[in-house]
């Protein structure tokens, strides 16, 4: 990719986009028996429509907590947060996002198809509609043909793909992913990253993605949020200028290495506060 292409890409972007997630001065303190734990403090962040935002940082930096606050699985203790202009709770009630957990969390008594139709069932869709959508979602993650299998009959990577299909099935515009490929080996991970990118390019969804892998963050994201622990806060936000239809080859380019270097520097600086 030439520099000109990069510039063209930037130029092609619309000037102002709708903010999907808007966070101002957010903090979260857990009260524990050993005193308060400051999980998040002074977090300011805007995620725009069509962004692929990665949260990266050492364990304990609050990146998962931040994602859970966005998903209304944790409540912030200070600051403001809005999802699509409404509170996280209202957004959750409106099924505004699909969440992919670290583990597949497939229900073992349901077949893959019925696992994918679970959210659709809760949303009271008709049976034909459910089957059709499950079929489409499974096709997106290349799992068609495995509808009638049970989760334990699939490999770990396939199970995680099924859980992504489940998050995609009800077509929410926001996708929250909490280290979805953390437990998978490098090769499967690369493959799933590629698939995820294709999906993002095709559907124009907004993705928030937690990871602790620098190459993964740089490869996938349009925006990288570097976080540091105790208290969890944002220390750097890096925009990448790669096109949406990037391939694994960009990992060899100088731009890629430069961004990876900046992320690493950020992580090191954030870590330095502890020593």
């Amino acid at each position: 990719m030439t520099l000109k292409q990069v510039v063209d890409n930037v130029a092609a972007m619309p000037a102002s986009k709708k903010a999907v997630v808007d966070i101002k001065d957010l903090s979260l303190t857990f009260q524990t028996a050993d005193g308060p734990v400051y999980a998040l403090s002074e977090v300011d962040l805007t995620i725009e429509e069509g962004d692929f935002v990665s949260f990266i940082g050492p364990s304990g930096c609050g990146k998962t907590t931040l994602l859970r606050v966005i998903a209304d699985l944790e409540k912030a203790t200070g600051g403001e947060i809005s999802i699509n202009g409404v509170s996280p709770e209202a957004a959750r009630e409106a099924r505004a996002y699909g969440y992919v957990f670290q583990a597949p969390a497939l229900l073992p008594w349901r077949s893959i198809e019925r696992n994918v139709t679970l959210p659709l069932e809760i949303m009271d869709l008709s049976k034909e509609e459910r089957i059709k959508r499950a079929h489409d979602a499974l096709k997106l993650v290349e799992l068609n043909g495995f509808e009638k299998k049970f989760p334990w009959q699939l490999s770990g990577g396939m199970q995680q793909r099924a859980s992504i299909a489940r998050a995609l099935s009800f077509d929410a515009d926001l996708l929250l992913m909490d280290e979805p490929f953390g437990a998978l080996d490098e090769i499967v991970r690369d493959h799933l990253n590629e698939q995820l990118l294709k999906l993002w390019a095709r559907t124009n969804k907004t993705v928030a993605f937690v990871t602790h892998s620098i190459p993964e963050a740089v490869y996938l994201s349009s925006k990288i949020v570097v976080m540091s622990p105790r208290p969890g806060r944002i220390i750097d936000v890096i925009e990448t200028k790669f096109p949406k239809d990037r391939t694994l080859d960009i990992r060899e380019t100088p731009e890629f290495l430069e961004i990876a270097h900046r992320v690493r520097e950020g992580l090191r600086a954030g870590h330095g506060h502890d020593e």
Binding site: L73, R92, Y99, F101, W109, L118, E121
Partner: protein, 385 residues
């Protein structure tokens, strides 16, 4: 020269059968002062012993290597057992069995042991063959135990009041089918089943209420614990006073017995769903009842079935014991308590056998439903590709 490994069980069988031919078969009749019977007088038994010697010697040498060999020695043992029973009853050995007879039983034991051992280790990829082998093992073992019971009781002449032989129990069982059916209907169908359904059903509903209303968990669980600790023989007469002599009082006793295991297991089961799965349901904005039916109850099923299995045996025990404290003149517990008084021990044993059959069948039925309902659980999973 190749190493030859002798089959020890067949060796024991052959030697014991050979000695059985030599040692006296039966003791001396007190009245006549003569030996009751000789092997030579009983051609069937003599031929069976000889067959055991030959088959035992042959298989000692070649070994019981295939399932076919196992069935041959099993057939030899069955023929021997038949001849031994014949000798006991048709040739008057019953009550006078001596060294020769018992040596023959030891010989048969060795053959049956070896045969069952080989059949139990049989592996086949053909489901039908494998399943038949799996069924033959417990049946052969059970029949063998009944045979040993029969020959020991008859051979030593154990008084029937102490322990009747199984054949006598069987005869009594078959000849009093009408009484037994009436007892079964009264105790099992009316009392045990209705008590089981009411006890398990109400405990299940209360468990959901306990789950929904937190203060019930603190208030009701200890109370349920206390009720389950009440002695059944203290509760049963009170229940008879409250609910009358008929099956209703027995059902009440069973409700008390089965309530707590079901309650505790269901409450535990409702908490079995993982945090991750609960978060998942929260992201779908799934309400309490939706999460209950789609996640928590399915996850609780292994616990619920555990309680259903425990209670299936408790219910029958409860019904029988409760009948000791007042009942119309029908019922398994009533029959046992009256026939003991009349020294009809064979009838008592027939009722015990009926209770064992009914209890096993009931447990088996619940276990079968469990297998079908929770086939996803790791303990039942079958890999299907």
């Amino acid at each position: 020269m190749t190493q030859v490994k002798l089959d020890k069980f067949c060796l024991v069988g052959a030697v014991a059968a050979l000695l059985a031919l030599i040692f006296p078969l039966a003791g001396i009749d007190g009245d006549t002062g003569k030996q009751v019977a000789f092997v030579g007088d009983i051609p069937g038994l003599a031929s069976a012993m000889a067959l055991c010697v030959i088959a035992g010697a042959a298989f000692t040498w070649i070994g019981v290597r295939t399932i076919f060999h196992a069935f041959i020695i099993l057939a030899v043992a069955v023929f021997g057992a038949w001849q031994a029973i014949d000798a006991l009853y048709d040739y008057g050995v019953a009550g006078y069995a001596s060294t020769g007879f018992w040596l023959f039983i030891i010989s048969l034991w060795a053959f049956v042991w070896r045969a069952i051992d080989v059949i139990a280790n049989y592996h086949s990829l053909e489901t039908v063959k494998q399943q038949s082998a799996n069924i033959i093992v417990p049946i052969a073992f059970g029949v063998w135990l009944l045979f040993v019971w029969e020959v020991v009781v008859s051979g030593f002449g154990v008084p029937q009041v102490l322990l009747p032989p199984p054949s006598m129990i069987g005869v009594r069982f078959v000849s009093s089918t009408d009484t037994m059916m009436a007892d079964f209907y009264q105790t099992f169908v009316k009392a045990a089943l209705s008590g089981y359904v009411m006890g398990c059903g109400s405990a299940f509903l209360v468990a959901i209420a306990v789950d929904r209303v937190p203060f019930l968990k603190r208030g009701l669980l200890p109370l349920g614990n206390m009720v389950s600790a009440l002695p059944i023989i203290g509760v049963a007469p009170i229940m008879v006073m409250w609910f009358g002599f008929d099956w209703q009082s027995k059902a009440a006793v069973i409700v008390i017995m089965t309530f707590f295991p079901m309650l505790v297991n269901t409450v535990t089961g409702l908490n079995a769903a993982g945090k991750l799965e609960k978060d998942l349901m929260a992201t779908y904005a799934s309400g309490y009842w939706s999460t209950l039916f789609r996640l928590r109850l399915p996850a609780a099923m292994p616990f619920v079935f555990n309680a259903l299995k425990i209670n299936s045996t408790l219910a029958l025990i409860g019904a029988i014991v409760a009948e000791f404290f007042g009942t119309p003149i029908v019922g398994m517990g009533f029959r046992i308590s009256t026939e003991v008084g009349r020294m009809n021990i064979d009838m008592v044993w027939a009722e015990i056998a009926l209770a064992a059959l009914a209890g096993t069948a009931f447990y088996g039925a619940v276990a079968y439903v469990e297998r079908k309902a929770t086939s996803w659980h790791p303990s039942f999973r079958v890999r299907r590709h």
